[in-house]
Amino acid sequence: MLSVEGLTKRFDSVVAVDDVDLELRPGEIHGLIGPNGAGKTTTVNLITGELSPTEGTIEFEGEDLVGLSPSTIARQGIGRSFQVVQYFPEMTVRKHLRLAVRDTTRTVRSVFDRDADYSEEIRQVAERVHLEDELDTVARNLSHGQKRFLDIALVLAMDSKVILFDEPAAGLNESETAEVREILEELRGDYAILIVEHDIDLVRAISDRITVLHNGSVLTTDTPENVVQNPQVREVYLGE
Amino acid sequence: MLQRRSFLKAAGVAGLTSAAGCLGGGGGGSDSVKIGAVMALSGPFARTGEENERGLRVAEEYLGGEILDNEFELIVEDNESDPNTSIQAARTLVEDEDVDAIIGPVSSGNSIAVMQYIKEEGQVPHLMTTASSVDARENPENCNEYGFFIWPSNRHLAPTGTQFIQELPNHIDRDIDPSRVHYVSQDYALGQNGLELVEEAMSEVGGEVTGSTLVPLGETDWSSYISEISNSEADVVTGVLTWGAAAQLIPQANSFGLPEEKVMMFNSGKPIGQFAASTMPDEVTVDGWFGTHFYNPGLDTEVNNEFQSIYNELDSSLLPNSTAGASFELMRALATVIEDSGSTATDDIISGLEGLEWDSVFGPVQFREEDHQAALNFFGGRRVAGDGDTPEVEVLAEYPDVIPDARCSL
């Protein structure tokens, strides 16, 4: 569904991402791991259009994504959650989801729309992330874990086909991490998912395949079992 | 700063009048007299406005605070040098305070705005202090029966100044061609109108205006303009200056040595008026500065002596001057008319002013019935070092009874 070939990003003399290939297939969870500075978040930023690649192609269902703006790419069906949770502190969960669910190209013209009712879709999405009881809570009052779930919920509400999770378990305790895992598992069948993570256990447990990045280039792409036993990978991670 | 001062003054006035028991309803033939003044107390015309206001205070003192044996109330509003605010101030005075007459505002542009209001709605006697544009007095859309002008217009000044320029070669050592002048003023109604009239006046004596320099209001750096003036073809520089402009031009021109190159002959007081004499005595006695004016501080009459005496008692670093004199005389005229007729009704005041001839600090003055303008005695001269700190006026030529033809019949 989403294929990345030869993706390279240079910042002056620094090569942050070097000739990376990646393939995301529907129904699969693909892990992306590597030490700090390996280029994981840069890769995600390249896919979402935040940065433009120096070389390489990014194709989504046959369409070339390179050069498109992040909002256009988001509309195409690529959803992203952030390493640092991005949300709207003054708005309720319900308002968040409503913004995500509705037609994002129809803003001013929505004056003429009768109050479209998205309450069913909103409730469904909220249930998937266990936030159905918090719909009227103002976002800044949610716990850190709940904010994370909200971030995930936004992506789900967008009706994306590809979801890029950037460190979804960052800052969560054990039980929250387990919840995240549960949510991700439930998502498996419907989307092509990329998950960037530091938590090796989580990634190993849920990924179908894992790509290991080191200094911007791909070390290996393989099943979790093989990746864990890969000697190069072990060497790189020994210092961690 | 300025705002606070006006508050204190207003408080002071309120204190004066509240002490009396007289609480008349206000305008139109009631017990105590109320006079409203719209003054520029802030903004580009503030200097002139302050002096106008000072003149009003001198008049208050001179009248002993009473008209018709009752304490009268003087209410001063700040128009912030803005036309819109001027109209609002006038409206407040007429509609809320019910004043019997309005004095001011200061600038020509603001005056026209208030004239329009008075003509359409306010309809009380409107005595203008320092507005000199002819538009106010000649444009049928503006001139109305309520307005009175004591200050000379550009049409008083331009021909007088032009005549004096023609006589200058008789009074100075330099070799100059008086048929060509360069015009300098500020870039607004006063200055632009003045230019047109000087062009007219010069062509009537067979001369011309070779160029002009109009400086934006509020400009403090005149160096580029002085270069422009210096490069002009004419030997004589003329024009009309506001106090703000004079305060900038005179010292800066001196430091560039401009009066040595050109003869600087300005109308309406500066540089030979009292303002310049008190604030920059050494600058104006520099050879090359000439002017025409209608207020001679040396005029030895009872009223002028008393005016100067009261003025000097007030908190001012300046000498008694024409700007303060204008508002002083307008108050006096109002008071005289009200006392003579015993009425504050608008029609009575207007007809009273039309016939009034009186001895003012400018000499004998009256308002012409046809268009409510005043004839004034002008003189041309310069300042020279005197006995004390203050330079003296040296009168070189006299032009009595100057008044242009009426172009507006009321």
Partner: protein, 320 residues
Amino acid sequence: MSDTMADVREYARGTARRPLLALGVLLVLAVPFLAPSQADLATEALIFGLFAISVDVALGYAGLLTLAPAAFFGVGSYTVAKFVVDYDLSFWLGFPAAVILAVLLAVAVGYIPIKRRIGHVYFVLFTLAFGAIMHDFTFVTTWLTGGSDGLGFFSPPSVFGIDLGGQMEYYYFSLALVALVGFGIYRLIKSDYGDVLHATRQNQLRMRYLGYDTDRELMIAWVLSAAVSAFAGAIYVGSVGIASPSDISFALTGDVIIWIIVGGTGTLLGPFAAAVGLLFTQELLQNLWQGGYRLLLGLLFVVFVFTLPDGLMGFVRDDE
């Protein structure tokens, strides 16, 4: 927060609202009859209330820190004055011309800052420069604008046999326009677009990643704000009869920003009420203490910024 305050809030929000609202509407409609001498002031209050609303859209809702409000207001007043006084054109023609001019200027000024997503501080500087240029331009190009003399003097025309030059007539005219446009803005902000702006202000990044073209949405808010500000200026000059430099001054910008802060940013109703209330306060103060109004505004500004950043509306409403 005491129980009394909670009770007051309940009261304000509860069923007592409806009849109060009706009473309010009646009062507004009856002003020229109840207080005919104040019709002019009431007209001015309505116009400035609309002005405050327009700036609140940009400042309060979209989070665009602008120092240009008076620049657009002045564009409105000067365009109409220019059309009528110098070009002898219809007063009605002046309105669309003013709005179009304001839109063009808003696009020109806002395009780079909004597209480039420069931070708040730089947006302030951009709009500050724009405001300063417009103000100085007005003063200097006396042949175009009349400079310090202003551009006047005219009376609004008659429509359907009603002479708008009368105080009362112009009051209703202004009321109708303000109500119309004010309601339009209210509908817009109440729609999803208001939420879009609100969210964009809090986290533009997230909105982009939800698929919103945030540059476009902000631009729309900016241009709309400018257009309505100019519209308010156009109505204003009809009531005064002369366009003056004070219409395009930073003093006016300062006033409107203070009204918004006192009323409550992003509440529309708050700034409107604050504008009206403070204008009437100014009128009262005029007679007692000249110059006190400016001092009061300054004090209010400081007090509200430090103790009541959500303004009066924030105080009256519960937190969501």
